[in-house]
Structure formats: structure tokens, C-alpha cells
């Protein structure tokens, strides 16, 4: 069963911006939710979301420092 990368975002308070706090690898959205909740539960978040990495649409792409195929 293949895993995919999920980016994890959270905010402390309603008025805070949603900020990137980490990643989890999971085989499904359900696992991603549970893993994110338990991996990043040290702080009292008002909101915590996961987004499949592949769902993120790049606008300005980061120039890679290393060749991923090399």
C-alpha cells in the first residue's frame, strides 16, 4: 500500500494565519488526519488541517539545490 506525503497546517487562534507546521506520510486521508493529530498535538491548536502534497499547485517554484534524480 503506497503512502503519500501530506503537508500539515495549523493555527493557534482564529485570527492567526494558517501556518505550515510539518508533514506526515500516510496511505489514506483518514490515516493522515489521525497521524497529524497525534504527531502535532503538543500545542493547543484552534485548527489543524492536512493537504495532500500533490494537491498543492505551485505558483513560484523553488529551485532545487539537488537533482532529485541524481
Amino acid at each position: 500500500m503506497s503512502k503519500q506525503l501530506y503537508e500539515v497546517f495549523a493555527r493557534h487562534k482564529r485570527e492567526d494565519p494558517l501556518g505550515h507546521i510539518g508533514t506526515v506520510r500516510a496511505t489514506s486521508d483518514a490515516f493522515a488526519r489521525v497521524y497529524a493529530r497525534n504527531t502535532y498535538d503538543e500545542e493547543n491548536w484552534a485548527e489543524l488541517v492536512v493537504v495532500p502534497r500533490e494537491a498543492i499547485i505551485p505558483v513560484l517554484e523553488l529551485e532545487l539545490l539537488l537533482d532529485p534524480n541524481g
Binding site: 489514506s28 483518514a30 489521525v34 497521524y35 493529530r37 497525534n38 504527531t39 498535538d41
Partner: protein
């Protein structure tokens, strides 16, 4: 609403003390069983999750023991350090989980049974439980989601794994159903606690909730239960003990018993 657990009538205090200890002991041992897999889960994220779940179970144990300690009817004595029979944890927890498959079965059945009970007390009329259990119940939501995700994954596993999973489920299921005890009898403390409003459901209702929550996780497995929470056949409860809510006394393996009784801590002169 009872502002303090000790304000309940004496006969209900005993029932509440017994219920608190049954749940607290199960959470104590479930926390240990989860912790035993904190570095043995199939993937790193599952390691982190099961470790976190262990912490929550132990935290809930502390919370419940805090309420229990206020009652003169607290059944705990020093005998618990040597006598396995003084413990009231659910039978599926007596021995360590042999593999991750069994951990998932415990998560999906024993953990859910305990949460059904916490929710019933959270909606009950004993203020310290109604207030303090709110956070615990919200934490348990993710334990259930974890179980649901793993159950789904297990059902698509190779047949050999799925067969072992079915065996683990059947074993845990029988112990869980037995825990609720006789339905409609005259010696079930869940019924008395419900009649007094301490729990918001009697034995039949709590069992119905447990079954209704767990049957949808079972895919095609027939456990003799319906999705609306009914059993097609009532269990045989020969030997059922109304206090421990088990069919036979617990018999832990030695390392587990040392761990749950804090034997190593006592050897250092430290008491829990």
C-alpha cells in the same frame, strides 16, 4: 446535579466506585498495551500515534482515579500489588498483544467500549465527571478514527492477515459484550447508575451504542449483531462477576503485572 461524587447515596457510591475502577483499570492496562507497541508499529507515524494514545489512556486513568479517591467506597487496597484478582481490567488486556493485528482489535473494540462509558458519565449528573470527561472524550475521538482507518486497511490485507484479524476481533468482541453483563436482570450496576442519572444509559443502551459504533467497522464479518446495535443472540454469561464485569478473574503475565502495579517504582521507594 451532584456537585461531588461523595454526595451520592451510599449504595450508588459503591456502584460508582466499582464502575470507576473497572474503567480506570482497563485504561491503565490498555495504556500499557499501547505503550508496548510504541516502537513496534508498522510505520513511524503509527509509532507516534500509539505512543500518544498510550499517554491519553494513562491520563484518563489518573483523572478517573482522582474521582475515585474521593469516595470512602474506593475498593483499592494494597492487595492489588500481589493479587491479580483485585484488578478489574477487561479480559482482553490480560496478556500482551501478540502482534499489531491484536493492537488494532483492542483499539477498535476495548477502546471504543471505554469511550462509550466515558460519554455516558460525561452526560450524567455527577459534576466532576461531567466536567472533566469532556476533554477526555474529545481526545478519544481520534482513537476511534485511528481504529476505523486500521480496520479498513486490515480488511484489504492478504487473507492470512485478515484471518488473524478476525480471530482477534472475535476474542475481543466476546469479552466486550460480556463486560456489559446481563440485560434486563436485577444485578447490573450500570442499570442502577443509569436510573440515578449518573450514566445517561443503562446496560442495554450502552451495549447498543457500543455495538452500533463497532459493527460498521466490521465489513462482511458477522458477529451476530446488527448495525442498529442489537444482538441476534444473547451471550452466555456463566461466571460473570458483577463487580469486575468479567467471566473469570484476571491472570496477567508477570512483567505486565509488575508494570501495572508499579512494582519497579515501589522497589525504589516510590508509590504511585
Amino acid at each position: 446535579m451532584y456537585e461531588r461524587a461523595q454526595d451520592l447515596p451510599a449504595e450508588l457510591r459503591q456502584d460508582l466506585a466499582d464502575w470507576l475502577l473497572a474503567i480506570a483499570d482497563s485504561k491503565r492496562v490498555l495504556g500499557l498495551r499501547y505503550a508496548e507497541w510504541a516502537t513496534g508499529a508498522p510505520e513511524l507515524e503509527a509509532d507516534v500515534t500509539i505512543a500518544a494514545m498510550a499517554q491519553y489512556e494513562l491520563g484518563h486513568t489518573r483523572l478517573l482515579r482522582g474521582v475515585l479517591a474521593k469516595l470512602d467506597e474506593d475498593p483499592r487496597t494494597d492487595a492489588r500489588n500481589t493479587d491479580h484478582g483485585e484488578w478489574r481490567s477487561i479480559a482482553s488486556l490480560d496478556q500482551p498483544a501478540a502482534d499489531w493485528i491484536q493492537v488494532v482489535a483492542l483499539n477498535g473494540l476495548v477502546d471504543v467500549l471505554l469511550t462509550v462509558n466515558l460519554e455516558a458519565a460525561m452526560r450524567g449528573n455527577v459534576a466532576p465527571l461531567a466536567q472533566r470527561l469532556r476533554k477526555a472524550v474529545s481526545e478519544e475521538e481520534y482513537h476511534t478514527l485511528h481504529a476505523q482507518a486500521w480496520f479498513e486497511r486490515m480488511w484489504t490485507a492478504p487473507p492470512e492477515i485478515a484471518d488473524r484479524f478476525v480471530a482477534a476481533i472475535r476474542s475481543a468482541w466476546d469479552n466486550c459484550i460480556a463486560w456489559f453483563g446481563p440485560i434486563g436482570g436485577d444485578n447490573n450496576s450500570l442499570d442502577r447508575l443509569a436510573a440515578a442519572g449518573v450514566l445517561d444509559g443503562d446496560a442495554a443502551e450502552l451495549r447498543r451504542r457500543f455495538v452500533a459504533l463497532t459493527v460498521p467497522m466490521m465489513a462482511d464479518l458477522d458477529l451476530g449483531a446488527t448495525a442498529d446495535g442489537e444482538l441476534t443472540v444473547e451471550p452466555t454469561l456463566e461466571g460473570w462477576n458483577a463487580v469486575s464485569r468479567r467471566l473469570s478473574p484476571p491472570q496477567f503475565d508477570a512483567p505486565s503485572f509488575d508494570m501495572i502495579t508499579g512494582a519497579h517504582a515501589r522497589a525504589m521507594g516510590v508509590e504511585d
